[in-house]
């Protein structure tokens, strides 16, 4: 029988069956083995309108456009990372070139815990596949593109949030298990974006044991209305699959049906796989569900082997908490243009903050001093001073300057002056200037 997709779907299915972070790590060869079997056995690749593509291999220029790797990309990034990021880029190309209506990149390792500054690996991520994809798109198809991320991984998308925290053209919505109960700990409703993009970061922490009911409440009452208001050119679902009731690392209770229905409603242009480590009981079913939903096909017969309808029932306390948070976020969204930025950030010229980022894979802590210029003409120059403890590789202190898209001339001038000064300052072993407009990374060691 010849089944035809309602919407054409590009599938970058690259399980990297010969790669692991380490033999018993959740990111190991086996992770997508059962998903591969399910995808092949269900015959979804024979459905007319669903087309499979190989990933591209991203270039170091693609990495340096998005990240500042310390000491450099060559020492941090390996081929599997470039292929995973290249998978996301390929997906975006297919959509932008209108070869398909939407695309789903089932790639690994994931990316959403990778920050702008990358001194190592954390949360199974090294580089941010979806951010690398978006920066590629903006460079190639126009900086004015409005992008919306909806990150549905159980862990807060702290890396993607960091990269777009001060970027008003990128709306970043993250739905995740409450950070007080799970890595990385961040992602509270109070984190709403930097002075140049206040209100364009939205975090909905979901209490442990949230079910399909809570997820869809958030989708219907928060995500979809806000997307409707923001009118993005592209909607990206960072499709983590560790909210599933069988996931070993988290405490959420989403079903494969819940995921499929989410993609049906959200109808993202791009979906990019993130985490999800219930490799036998969840991933094969969730991925088939997402594929069918994105192709606009019937997905109601997708069920996990141990599925029981009771799994969808949700505690009233959980529902109330979600509702209260959704309400507060909707208010924040509505009032974002009216806020007094200087008052909100308690500063006049520069918003400064300190933070400490834990790199669990590499077992060190990065200390960052972050400084964002409060500018009325652009989103503002960003300065970061970074150092790690313990510094076993003797990387030393680094200074990073970021010139954003649509920068004003005074921020641009200031950035180049500060870069020059920093290169002469012996305190800094490495100095970087990432110029988004010129698409270049200046490095001084």
């Amino acid at each position: 029988m010849n089944i035809k997709a309602e919407q054409s779907l590009g599938l970058i299915f690259f399980p990297a069956l010969d790669w692991s972070i380490s033999p018993t790590h959740p990111e190991r060869e086996e992770r997508l083995l059962y998903t591969k079997d399910q995808v092949l056995e269900e015959g979804v690749l024979d459905i007319e309108g669903i087309k499979e593509y190989n990933p591209e291999v991203a270039s170091l220029a693609d990495i340096n456009r998005t990240h500042v790797c310390i000491p450099n990309a060559e020492e941090i990034v390996t081929k599997p990372h470039l292929i995973s990021a290249g998978g996301a880029i390929k997906a975006a190309q297919l959509v932008m070139e209108k070869q398909v209506d939407s695309a789903f990149a089932i790639i690994r390792p994931p990316g959403h815990h990778a920050f702008r500054v990358v001194p190592g690996s954390r949360g199974f991520c090294t580089i941010n596949n979806e951010a690398i994809m978006v920066e590629y798109l903006r460079q190639k198809y126009g900086t004015e593109l409005k992008i919306a991320f909806v990150d549905t991984d159980a862990h807060h998308a702290d890396g993607t949030q960091d990269i777009y925290y001060n970027d008003p053209n990128v709306l970043h919505i993250s739905l995740h298990q409450d950070g007080r109960t799970l890595f990385p700990g961040t992602g509270s409703v109070e984190e709403l974006g930097g002075p140049g993009a206040f209100g364009y970061t939205l975090n909905l922490p979901l209490p442990p044991n949230t079910t399909d009911q809570g997820l869809h409440y958030a989708l219907d009452n928060l995500v979809l209305p806000i997307l409707d208001d923001f009118q993005p050119d592209l909607v990206i679902n960072a499709a983590g699959q560790d909210n599933h009731y069988s996931d070993p690392l988290t405490r959420m209770r989403i079903t494969a049906q819940g995921y499929a229905e989410l993609n049906s409603k959200l109808n993202p242009d791009l979906a990019i796989l993130q985490g999800g480590y219930s490799i036998e009981s969840a991933l094969p079913y969730i991925n088939i569900g997402i594929i069918l939903a994105m192709a606009g096909l019937d997905h109601l017969n997708i069920k996990e082997p141990d599925y029981q309808p009771e799994i969808k029932k949700q505690d009233a306390i959980i529902s109330d908490k979600i509702k209260a948070r959704v309400d507060s976020l909707r208010t924040a969204w509505k009032l974002k243009e009216e806020s007094d930025i200087q008052k909100e950030f308690q500063c006049t010229d520069y918003y400064t903050t300190q933070r400490s980022i834990f790199y669990d894979t590499d077992q060190f802590r990065e200390n960052q001093q972050l400084k964002i210029k409060v500018c009325t003409d652009c989103s503002g120059l960003i300065e970061i001073i970074s150092s790690i403890r313990p510094d076993l590789r003797s990387i030393g202190q680094a200074k990073v300057l970021i010139i954003p898209f649509e920068v004003c001339s005074s921020c641009r001038k200031e950035a180049y002056q500060k870069y020059q000064q920093a290169t002469e300052d012996p305190k800094f072993k490495h100095v970087y200037l990432q110029d988004k407009e010129e698409d270049q990374l200046l490095v001084s060691n």
Binding site: F14, Q38, L40, E41, D46, N301, E304
Partner: protein
Amino acid sequence: MKLGIDIGGTNTDGVLIKNEEVLASTKLSTEADSLAATILKVCRELISSKKTNQISQVNLSTTLTTNQIAQENFPPVGLLIIPGPGLNPDWYHYSPATEVLSGSIDHRGREVAPLNLNEVKAALKKFTQEEISRVAICAKFSPRNPKHEIKIKKLIKDEFPEFDLLTLGHQLSGKLNFPRRTATTYLNTAVLETQQQFIAAIKEGLADLGIQAPVQVLKADGGTMSLTESLQAPIESINSGPAASIMGVLATSDLKGTTLALDIGGTTTDISLFIDEKPLFKPQGVEINNYKTLVRGLYNESLACGGDSLVQIVDQQLQIAPQRRGNAAAYGGVDPTPTDALVVLGLDQQGQLAAAKNSLEPLAKQLGLTVKKVALKIVELFCTKIEEKVTEILNKLNNQPVYTINELLSISKIKPNSLVGIGGPAAALIPTLAKKLKLDYLIPNYSPIVNAIGAALARSTKKCTLYADTAQGYYQLPELGITEKIEQLDLATAKKILQESLAEQLPNSKTEIEITSAQSFNMVRGFNTIGQIIEATAQIKPGLTNKLRRGHL
């Protein structure tokens, strides 16, 4: 001596080959309603003066199954599917009599939900009421665990003996793809009876002729199968025509490097590829009459454009194909064709020049060109059409999905360096085309009967899958019906088991068994390795018993 017969839609060709030489060949028109009679007639002609006891082998390439499927000329088949959860099962009602049964097996071959025997019985009774006596049975993940399919077979044997023809999905292919396996199982069941009748007629006819040699049937993969096998899996014989042609090219040409092969016929041009004398397989199974199957086949793509295709002017532009109105004018037809252009240009010196010129005249007038210029343009357009199709094919083949980093980084792109052409217009057209494609070219000597040669010299092929799950303590080879308990297994041992099991299937074959894929995965639960999953496939690949000596007929 080997007898090879290729039955085509129009003609049936036969050859008698001794060692490296063709002793006799013949061409007869195919009698569509009695292929067996046609075959026997060819046999009779070929052996007229020979001693039948010297014939050691008879190989047949027939369109019997292909035609039956193309015409959807099926007897009623009851299709039992056990889809479990997943895609909508309504999508796989290939037969008007399809029953969906409960029961489910997961990706590791574990039973998730049992079969309901009462439900099976009810479905079979329903089939009986509808006077259906053939059943196709296919379960999702049956290559991982064929338990449900086998249980139904046993039930039929014990309680429903009236169903005398049945096919189990897992026996046809070890590959995962439930919709394709279901289609393949259904089609196989639908053509079983016709195959039985055909084989019976052939056996009887050959016995009458005094031919006692073993008979083999050509498959889509360019290899042969025994009559016994063809009675179980007749579906394997679909597309054997193109396969015969590909094997024929192999038998009659010295191929080096990567070769593009064209079989230019009257209506179509068939395109195939060889790498180092090995024909390429289709990445997925054969597709026939809109059915996607799991039948392994040689790579072959058809372009609706041949020597006798109609040439006309549409919107001030020359257009070749897709229509065909009989022969080329130079060969007794009326309308202009690419063959007529070749005759006008003197590239084909057999056809009638005057008739060819006459047919191109109106086109020349309309375009305001000389007849010769029009002929040149037609040949050029023909070559462009082939070139575009070849580019499209290479693009597709060079972007086949891979699933490992090693494969992704080491993909070697297929880039042909030579061209071989067979079929009527090949000799006239190939040199021009080769120049356009910048390839060396070759036109084999025996091209009019190349398919029959390919059939005669093809040898047996076999393929097989091994799947081991040591955490569950077993390995199995679904196509061979082998399941064994095992505590531990490493990749090297798995390969050996696969090779030995396959070797047992063809005890007389000296052909090397090739491992086509093999991969082992540690299964980690918590922080402990609890076992291995091993997936491996092997084949006795298509090839020839021997080649022909060049330049002899």
